[in-house]
Symmetry: D2
Subunit: 348 residues, 4 copies
Amino acid sequence: MIKVAIVGGTGYTGVELLRILATHPQVDVTAITSRSLNGTRVSEQFPSLRGHYDLAFCEPNIEQLCACDLVFFATPHGVAQAQVPALIERGVRVIDLSADFRLKDIPAWEAWYGQEHAAPALAQEAIYGLPEVNRADIADAQLVACPGCYPTAIQLGWIPLLEAGVVEPAQLIASAASGASGAGRQAKTELILAENSDNFRAYSAAGHRHLPEIEQGLRGVQPSGASPAQVTFVPHLLPMIRGIHATLFAKSSAGLSPTELQTLFEQRYKDEPFVDVLPPGSHPQTRSVRGTNMCRISVMQPQDRDTLVVMSVIDNLAKGASAQAVQNMNIMFGLTETLGLESPALLP
Amino acid sequence: MIKVAIVGGTGYTGVELLRILATHPQVDVTAITSRSLNGTRVSEQFPSLRGHYDLAFCEPNIEQLCACDLVFFATPHGVAQAQVPALIERGVRVIDLSADFRLKDIPAWEAWYGQEHAAPALAQEAIYGLPEVNRADIADAQLVACPGCYPTAIQLGWIPLLEAGVVEPAQLIASAASGASGAGRQAKTELILAENSDNFRAYSAAGHRHLPEIEQGLRGVQPSGASPAQVTFVPHLLPMIRGIHATLFAKSSAGLSPTELQTLFEQRYKDEPFVDVLPPGSHPQTRSVRGTNMCRISVMQPQDRDTLVVMSVIDNLAKGASAQAVQNMNIMFGLTETLGLESPALLP
Amino acid sequence: MIKVAIVGGTGYTGVELLRILATHPQVDVTAITSRSLNGTRVSEQFPSLRGHYDLAFCEPNIEQLCACDLVFFATPHGVAQAQVPALIERGVRVIDLSADFRLKDIPAWEAWYGQEHAAPALAQEAIYGLPEVNRADIADAQLVACPGCYPTAIQLGWIPLLEAGVVEPAQLIASAASGASGAGRQAKTELILAENSDNFRAYSAAGHRHLPEIEQGLRGVQPSGASPAQVTFVPHLLPMIRGIHATLFAKSSAGLSPTELQTLFEQRYKDEPFVDVLPPGSHPQTRSVRGTNMCRISVMQPQDRDTLVVMSVIDNLAKGASAQAVQNMNIMFGLTETLGLESPALLP
Amino acid sequence: MIKVAIVGGTGYTGVELLRILATHPQVDVTAITSRSLNGTRVSEQFPSLRGHYDLAFCEPNIEQLCACDLVFFATPHGVAQAQVPALIERGVRVIDLSADFRLKDIPAWEAWYGQEHAAPALAQEAIYGLPEVNRADIADAQLVACPGCYPTAIQLGWIPLLEAGVVEPAQLIASAASGASGAGRQAKTELILAENSDNFRAYSAAGHRHLPEIEQGLRGVQPSGASPAQVTFVPHLLPMIRGIHATLFAKSSAGLSPTELQTLFEQRYKDEPFVDVLPPGSHPQTRSVRGTNMCRISVMQPQDRDTLVVMSVIDNLAKGASAQAVQNMNIMFGLTETLGLESPALLP
C-alpha cells in the first residue's frame, strides 16, 4: 500500500482526490491537512464521504508528511513552492496540482501570477504530468507538476496536429468553456448560483493564466525548426458543475484529407487508455466523461475548407486535475496505469 | 462469474445497470436487448460506455436469456409480466425494475395502471426487493420486484416510526421531489430542458402510481392491530438530473424526545450498509448520494411540537432503481452485499 | 411623478425594484444608496440596466431621502429600524422590504433575529403590506412592512381556508421551496453554483425566521374564537434562480366537496388582480409567474381523503418582494394597482 | 391599433411574440393559428398568459389573415413560402420568422434545407430584417425575412470590422453557443433535461444551416472588391433556456489599435437603440439581455497579437427572433422603434 497525504484538502481538487482514492486498492490516505478545518472530520465537511474515511483534517506537519510515500498538493498557487522543497530534500515524492511548477519560464510565471517564485530551481526539475507526452519521465520523477484543466483539454486536442506539423502554428484559436467547479470552492459573489445559472459569458479573454502553459506544452511537441505555437485562448463559464469543452481551430498547412486527419488522431492515441478518438462526425459531450479520467476528441474539416476543428472534452476536476494526478501516481509507483480509474462516466 | 442479461437496455435504468455492472468483479453482462436498437453497439448509443462494453443490443431471445443466471428487466410496466413467466418456468432468476410485480393487490394494480395484469399469481410469489425489510426472503427469491424510487426514499424514512408505532398512521404526509431522470428517457415536450430548467412544479398530486406501493410497504411493517398507514403523497419535478428528496411529516403519538427519536433511527439502521442516519440537526442533500446506493436520513421535531419531520434522500436511478437491483443481486447470489457499490458520491 | 429613493440598492431586491421601476410611468427614481459602491454607476454594477438609469450609488443622506415622496428599504434586517424613524418623523412614506417591521410581537422578533429591536413602537404602527388582506390600511399607511417571500406564498394559499374556518388550524404543514436568489446576493461558499446546481435539500427545518410571520398572518384572518393557526414549515433550496413553490397540507374539518373548495378559492380572489386560482386539477409552475407579481394557486383533495393540498407559486423577488412593494406603492399613492406590473411572465 | 395575426403560435417564437405584444400599446392580436390546438385557449396552453389573452387557437384561414394589417409567421421552414404568396397578393404585410425568405441564393437554400423552394421570386423581393443594416428598406417592405438567432448575434459582432475592411475576410471563425430554447419546443429525446443539464457539446460543426445566411449578410456589408467573407462556424448547446453568446475571431489586417477598435464599434452603433457596445475590457453576459431586444458587444485584442476577439450576446428568442420581429414591425408601421421593447432584462 502506498501511503499518501493530501495538503489542502478542502477545495474541490482535494475532495476529488479523496473520492477517487477511497476505492483505490493500493492507496492508504494517512493525512489530509487544512489549517482552517483542523480537527474537523472529513466526513463532517463532505457528507458524501461518510463511511469512507475516519480521518480528520490536521495542520500541516512536516514529519507526518515525510512519513508518506507521496504527498499531493491541492492548494492555491504559491503554497506548494514554499513547502515542497523541504519534502523533496527528505526524499518524499510529490504531485502538485497547482500551477507552481508547471512553467519553466520563471519570469513568465512571476508576471502571470504577480509574485516572486520561491523555488525556481525546483521548477526546472519538475516533470510536467501529462502522461500522453511525458510518461517515461513521470515514472522516475520525484516532483510532478500536474497540468491545468484547460491546458490538458487543449493540448490533447492539438498535439497530433502540432507533432505532425500539419497546421500553421501561429494561428491557433481555442474557444473553451468550463463548468463552475473550475473556479474552485470559494466564497465569491460572482460564483453564486443566482449569478451564474441560466447565464453564459467569457472571462479573462484578454489573457488567462493557462495561456503560457498551453503554449509551452504545444511548443514542446513541435518538430524542431517549426515556428512556435501561438494561441488565442478565450475561456467561458458554463452554468453547470463539471466539464471542460475545448473547441479548437487551426489552419491546415499540409492538405490532409478528412480520412488522413482521423487516422492521424487515432494512431497518435491508439495506446492511450484515457484518450478516446471518436468516430468521424461525432461531437463529444462533457457528460460522457463526467467523473472520469477520459478525454474524448473529435476532429473535423467543415465545408472542406482549410480551417480544421478539433473538439476535446474532459472533466475539469478529474482528467483536468485529481484523476490525472492519480494516473501520474500509478505511473510513478509502477502500478497499472488505470488502477482506481476504471468506472464509466455518471450518465445521465 | 454471474452471467446476466438486461431486457430493455435503452432507458435510464438500463444504462445505469450497465454503468454499475461495468466494474462489478463478479458479473458478466452477456446480453442486452432492445428491439428498436437491434444491432447498435451499446457504446455507440451511450458514448460514456465506450471502452467498457463490446456488446450490441439484440432482440429479446428466450434461449439466450435462459442461458443466464439472472435477467434484469429494465422495461416499462407491462413488459415483464408478459415475459417473466417463461423465464421463471425455466428456472432463471429475475429482478424486475418495473412496477409489474410490486403490488400484491392485483385489482389495485389494474386500477392504477389501467390494464389487466398478465401474471397475477407470479405477483403473489414475487419478493419485494427492499433489503432493509426483506433481506432473508430476497436471498432465496427467484423473482424480485425492485421498489420504485419514491417508495424507497419514503419507506426508508418512515419505517422506524411505523415499526415502533410511535406516530399516527392515518395522517402521514409526504412531499417529495425528483430529478428529471425519474421521468425516463422519453421524447416528450413536457420533459425538454427549455420547459423544465429554472422551474419547479408538483405533478400527479391527485394520485400517483407509487402511492399504493408506499402504503403497502408501510402497512407491512406496522405492528399488528395498528390502524393502516394512510399517506398523502405529492411528488414534484426538480430542474436537475438525479436525486429524490422526501420530506415526511407525521404526528407523534408516543411523546418521544428528540434524543429518543434519533436513537430509534440509528438503532434501526445500524447494520444497514446503505442507510446512513445523519447527526441531529443535519439536512441531507441529494448530491451526497449522487450515483450511489446510499440513503441518507435526518429526523427532527421542529419547535418541540408534535409534528415530526423526516428527510430522506436517494439517487432515483441508483438506490431508487439500478443500484438497489445490484444490491438485491448480491444478496441473491451470496456475494458481499456492497460489492460493486462502494464508490462515494460524485460531489461536487 | 412620484419621487422615490432606494436604500440598499446592491442586493437582489434592490436591483429588482430598479428593473420594475425603469418602465413605471409614474415614478422617478432619484437616489439609490450603497456605502460600498458609493460613486459607482448603477449601470456599471448591473449591465442589464445600461441605458435605463444614469444614477450612481450614493451614501445614505437624510436630506436627500426626505426630499422624496417614498423611500424603499431593500436592506438586511436591522438597517431599516435604525434609519426609518427619522424619515417617518419628517413625513416621508416608507416601504420596508426587510423583516424589521413585519412582526407585532417584539420579543418574538428579538428572539428569532437575535438582536434588540430599535423601533418597537413603530413596528406596532406599521401596516403589513399584503394587499389581499390589508388593502385599505395600506392606502393610508405611512410605513408599510412588505411581507417575506415564503409568507406571501403560504398565506395566499391558506387564507381562504382559514378565513372560512374549514380546516384544523393546529395541524398546518407547509413544504416550500425557493430559488437561490432568495438567499440574496451574498459571497458565501454554500451559495456557489458548484454547491447547489443538480442538488436539492431542506434547510432551517428546525425553525425558519419566516415561521412567526406566517403564523401571525394566518391568525390575523381566522374567525374570532378559532384555535390559533400552528404551522410546521420546512423550506428547501432549489437549483434555480427565481421562484417559490409552497405545497400546503391541511386537515379538512368541514367536509367541503372539491367543487365547494374550488369555489371558495375562486370567490375569495375573484377581484384580486394578482392572485390567479387555476382550474381544478392544475399544478401551478413557478415559471408561469417568473418576473411578475402574480400568485397562482391550485387546490386539491387527493383520494377524497380529508387532507387538503394547496399549491401556491410566486416569484420570490417579485410578488415575494419588489413587485409586491410596487403594488403597495401604487395603492399608497392612489394609482391603478397594476401600473408597471402588467408584463406577462418570461416563459420559457 | 395595428391588427396582427400570428401563424403558428405554439412554438417558442410564437409564445414570445404573444408575451411581447401583450403590453404593446399599438397592437391588437386578433388571431393566432394552430392546427393541432384548434379551439384551445392560448391561456390554457400557456398559463403565463392567463389574464392577458382571451384568444383561442384557430385553424389558418386566409380571409381572417387578410383582414389583418400584419401577419407574423412563427412556423417551421417550408410553411411560410407556401402560404405567404397569397397574402402578399392581397396586400397584407408579412414578417416571417422562419428561414424561408432569408437567402437570396435559392439553390443554396434548397441544398441546405433539402427541399424545393416554393416561392423563389418572392425570396428575391423579401427584405432581410436586420434593422442595423436595412432600416430604410424595412420601413417600406411588404415582406420581411426576420434573421436567424445565430446570424443576428454574429453579424452584429462582425459588421463594424467587415464594413471597415480591417480584417481578413477569408479567415473568420465563430464559436457560438445557444440556450436550449433555440432548438424549439419539440418532443425529442435529445432535448430532454436529463440529457442536456450539466452537459455541453457542439453540434452541426460540419455545417449548420445558419452558415450561408451569416456569410450572405457579411458579404452584403463588405466594401466592393473585398474578397468574400468566409466563416468557420461551430454552434454549441448550453444547459440553459435562453441566450446566445458568439465568440468571434478575426485576423486584423489594418493594424488598428485597441482604442481605434473600440471607437470603430462605438461609432458604428452610436444611434442604434438595441446594440450596446460595452466599455473596454468587458465580457458581455447572456443574462444581461434576457427577455430583451438588446445585443451587447465587446471587442478585444488579446496579448496585442493580430487576432481580434469580439463577443456578442443576444436573447435567441428576443433579438434573435420575436423581439426583433416587433422591432421590424415598429419600423414598418412608422412607430417609435423601441415601442413595447423597453423593459430591462430579467436579472437575476
